[in-house]
């Protein structure tokens, strides 16, 4: 082959190998970069006044004076918006208006009873208000102003009737007048559509049955039972999404027949008559004054419990549960791991037995993590616990022991490597001075190997903290109280991350909390691993005498 071609091929080969490593680094960046960025949004973001209100109510932390002032300022806007909507609704929402006039009729009757009016007078007035009610309802049902006007005029004839002065019946005439005004300006043919569009608009501004909106509950509304409906958009990014939905309607239209549908955005204001135009202008102008976004560092994210399956709050119990499981697991792994490593290095004489032990350690390292879960369930939970008189249910102890078995090979290998790395002359020196083998190991070899063993400890820690599959059936739950003892199941970061990633619509609405959870886990593990890597490099440099 030509020398030139061989040289080119060689360079291609070198480039390919280099590229593979570059690709590896890119993959790492592509996975971690966006994750860390979006996760940091859980802690650092533009919090609105609703966020501060929520923090005060749910977690009892706030600057009372400033917050009250802020709430007072923003409430003005809430009221004004609510009024504008009410005014418009009076004209279009037939059902609401009909039920309102029926209410008035009933209240008026009760007022008359309370005043103890004579029977015949009572019947007369009741008949009159029933007529008024019926003609109002008839007017609401009509769509042509020429039919509506005579009906309303007939009602308004009674406006000056002294019997109605100062009673509930006065409201009849208010409604009649405002409906007349609406009927003159608004095209009532679209009444139904307006009512539907208005309901959607209110859902975005306040809240729907099960989803929070921009501003929280209406000023005149009792506090909703569901915690997340009590507050509007707590974050400015959420608020902007809602504002976008408020101003624009997304429509999927078929532009060319047979082609996939295309999304188009139409201004929502076009769905309503001009009378509601000022509302859109008002919201546009005052959006940031209504919500008062302010940069927030919500470090309590790592302490707080959550509300409404992670809609509000943080990952405190998850962190606590992870630490709990990890620490209990380490109690089992560390002694067994170090002793096994010491035995394999120091006392191993019998070839056959040691070979079997080593093979088993390798086998253990290769067992799939889900099988450890099966084993934990079958052995610890269903066999060992009843044997010892404990309740056979998944709990921290079972999860920790299962994870301990899983990480045993990691711990043994790391400790073995650390003990082997101690130079021979350390040990020989001690033995020559007459120390026993046990004494030598405890006072000379172990201290010298300790930093290396510590690396192993940290690596097994990070392995235990990150595993999910083994604890699925042995101790992890997605909801529940903070554990009080090792016999309670617990929430963990790993299982929580799974739960939120495949979670329902609610979890998808709070991506910052989804990413916040997984990033907390990843950060914890990366920190542990970085410490282990740094520690290991320093130890080996020292033992080599550099």
């Amino acid at each position: 082959m030509n020398l030139r071609i061989r040289g080119t091929l060689d360079r291609f080969f070198t480039a390919a190998t280099g590229l593979s490593v570059v690709l590896l680094m890119l993959v790492l960046v592509a996975i971690l970069g966006p994750m860390l960025y979006r996760g940091s949004n859980a802690v650092f973001f533009q919090g609105t006044v609703e966020f501060r209100k929520m923090q005060r109510d749910l977690f009892r932390r706030s600057d009372e004076a400033t917050l009250n002032a802020e709430i007072a300022e923003t409430e003005v806007f809430h009221r004004r918006i609510s009024e504008m909507i009410d005014e418009f609704r009076k004209g279009v929402d037939i059902e609401a208006m009909s039920s309102q006039v029926r209410d008035i009729h009933r209240t008026f009757g009760q007022e008359l009873r309370a005043k103890a009016v004579a029977d015949d007078r009572y019947t007369e007035l009741r008949n009159l208000t029933r007529d008024i009610r019926d003609s109002l309802e008839a007017a609401f049902a009509k769509q042509d102003i020429r039919e509506i006007r005579p009906l309303l005029d007939g009602v308004l004839l009674h406006a000056e009737n002294p019997a109605f002065q100062g009673t509930a019946a006065e409201k009849f005439f208010e409604i009649a007048r405002s409906f007349l005004a609406t009927a003159e300006t608004v095209d009532l043919n679209h009444q139904q559509e307006y009512a539907a569009a208005l309901r959607e608009l209110q859902g975005i501004l306040f809240h729907t049955q099960d989803l929070p909106g921009l501003l929280g509950p209406r000023p005149d509304e009792p506090q909703p039972l569901l915690v997340m409906l009590r507050y509007g958009a707590t974050r400015w990014d959420q608020a902007q999404q809602l504002l976008d939905r408020f101003f624009w309607v997304e429509e999927w239209v078929e532009e060319k027949p047979g082609e996939p549908l295309v999304m188009r955005k139409e201004p929502r204001a076009d769905l309503f008559p001009e009378t509601l135009g000022p509302l859109f202008a008002y919201v546009q102008e005052n959006a940031d004054k209504m919500l008062k976004p302010k940069f927030t560092a919500y470090w309590q994210f790592f302490l707080d419990d959550n509300f409404n399956s992670h809609y509000f709050g943080g990952v405190g119990p998850e962190i606590l549960g992870t630490l709990f499981i990890t620490l209990v697991g380490m109690l089992f792994v560390i002694p067994f791991g170090i002793v096994s490593a010491a035995y394999l290095v120091e006392c191993a004489t019998d070839g056959q037995v040691i070979r079997i032990i080593r093979m088993c350690i390798n086998t253990l390292a290769g067992v799939p993590s889900i099988v450890f879960g099966l084993f934990g369930l079958a052995f610890f939970v269903l066999f060992l616990f009843p044997l010892l008189g404990f309740e056979p249910k998944p709990c921290i102890l079972a999860a920790s022991m299962t994870l301990a078995v899983l990480t045993l090979p990691v711990m043994i290998r790391a400790s073995e490597e650390a003990i082997r790395a101690v130079p021979r002359h350390y040990k020989e020196g001690a033995l020559a001075l007459g120390a026993s083998r046990f004494h030598t190991f405890v006072t000379i070899t172990l201290p010298a190997a300790l930093p290396g063993i510590l690396t192993g400890v940290i690596l097994s820690l990070s392995r235990i903290a990150g595993e999910t599959a083994p604890i699925l059936f042995t101790g992890a739950v997605s909801m529940g109280d903070v554990p009080r003892s090792v016999f309670d199941p617990t929430r963990t970061l790993s299982y929580g991350s799974y739960d939120m990633a495949v979670g329902d619509r609610l979890a998808m609405m709070v991506p910052h909390n989804q990413y916040g959870m997984v990033v907390t886990l990843v950060a914890l593990i990366l920190i542990l691993n970085t410490v282990a890597i740094v520690l290991r490099t320093r130890v080996y440099r020292k033992l080599r005498g550099q």
Binding site: A16, C360, G366, S369, A378, F438, Y498, A501, I533
Partner: protein, 324 residues
């Protein structure tokens, strides 16, 4: 003055009043302590063996009633997995094929990349630069599987749906890509060890014959290190088959064998995901639970045999390089 100081420092070194020999009692106690100590150490070391035995015993025990009552042929050869139907059917063929399918697809991505990266790390990169790249590999290995699954579901799946025009983002391709990333660290580190274990002699001999680096690598070093590289591939395969969270979250969990077989955009289901997904719903002591444990037994058999294969190749690699 100085004399007194010297004697003071010397005194605790040895008790000269005692005879050098031990009394019989002390001798016996020392003997006992040393052997008892060894026994205790041995027992603690033996936990690993015990753990493997207990895992085997209990997983088999729990699946025993199912395996003895259900036709083994139907369990292994039927594609129907309907555990909650009126008359439940437990045919795990599609599930076993699914596991192997994603694992082999993952190896398809991971092996070339891993071997190239191993060559780069062992033969091309300077020792100092290696200390920068190796932690990257280690961190890839350290990221918990649930975080990879999270990435697969919330980032990769929507991306695939949008840019590749697939009907679902959680499919065999998604799962295998992520599994490839997860198997890479194992493959790279084992392959690199075996490639660098091939001594300088072979390399120098090849270069002195006028071979380029590529020729040396492809025709001399990689063939010489083939045992270790095969072991690396087998270990990577083990990692992929045993992985649970990623396949559960990213593979779509549809019990089917892709048709046509090369269509990676279809959803599939693996053994690990089946156990993880259905164990919570299977009532205790039911046939369903037994079937899931039986899948666990299959997984154990699979990984044990892969483990034996990898041990065989690793020991051959050790023999070939002359290190014991």
């Amino acid at each position: 003055m100085s004399n007194a100081q010297i004697s003071l420092t010397l005194e605790p070194a040895a008790d000269t009043r005692r005879p050098m020999a031990l009394t019989p009692g002390e001798d016996f106690r020392g003997y006992l302590a040393s052997h008892l100590g060894r026994a205790v150490l041995f027992l603690m070391t033996f936990t690993s063996v015990l753990a493997v035995l207990l895992i085997l015993l209990f997983v088999i025990l729990r699946s025993f009633s199912f395996l003895s009552g259900y036709s083994l042929v139907e369990f292994l050869a039927s594609r129907d997995w309907r555990p909650t139907a009126e008359s439940p059917v437990f045919g795990s063929l599609a599930i076993i094929v699914g596991s192997l399918y994603v694992s082999f697809a993952a190896l398809l991505f991971a092996v070339p990349l891993g071997v190239l990266a191993a060559v780069f790390l062992s033969d091309i990169l300077s020792w100092k630069a290696r200390n920068v790249v190796k932690p990257v590999v280690e961190i890839l290995a350290a990221i918990p599987s649930v975080a990879y699954g999270f990435f697969a579901v919330l980032v990769l799946a929507p991306w695939m749906q949008k840019h590749l025009g697939l009907s679902t983002g959680t499919n065999a391709l998604n799962a295998s890509l992520i599994l490839a990333i997860m198997a890479l660290p194992t493959i790279i580190s084992v392959a690199e060890d075996s490639i660098s274990a091939i001594g300088r002699e072979l390399r120098e001999a090849s270069y002195s014959c006028g071979a380029t680096r590529m020729e040396t690598m492809i025709k001399v070093i990689i063939p010489a290190a083939h045992s270790g590289i095969i072991a690396a591939v087998v270990l990577g395969m083990m990692r992929a088959i045993g992985e649970t969270m990623v396949v559960w979250m990213a593979s779509g969990n549809a019990t089917q064998i892709p048709h046509p077989w090369w269509d990676v955009s279809q959803s599939i289901r693996t053994m690990t995901a089946t156990i993880a997904g259905e164990m919570g719903e299977a009532p205790e002591d039911s046939e369903h639970r037994g079937a899931l444990f039986a899948i666990g037994v299959l997984l154990l058999i699979l990984t044990f045999s892969l483990n034996i294969v990898s041990e065989y190749f690793l020991s051959r690699a050790k023999k070939a390089t002359g290190k014991t």
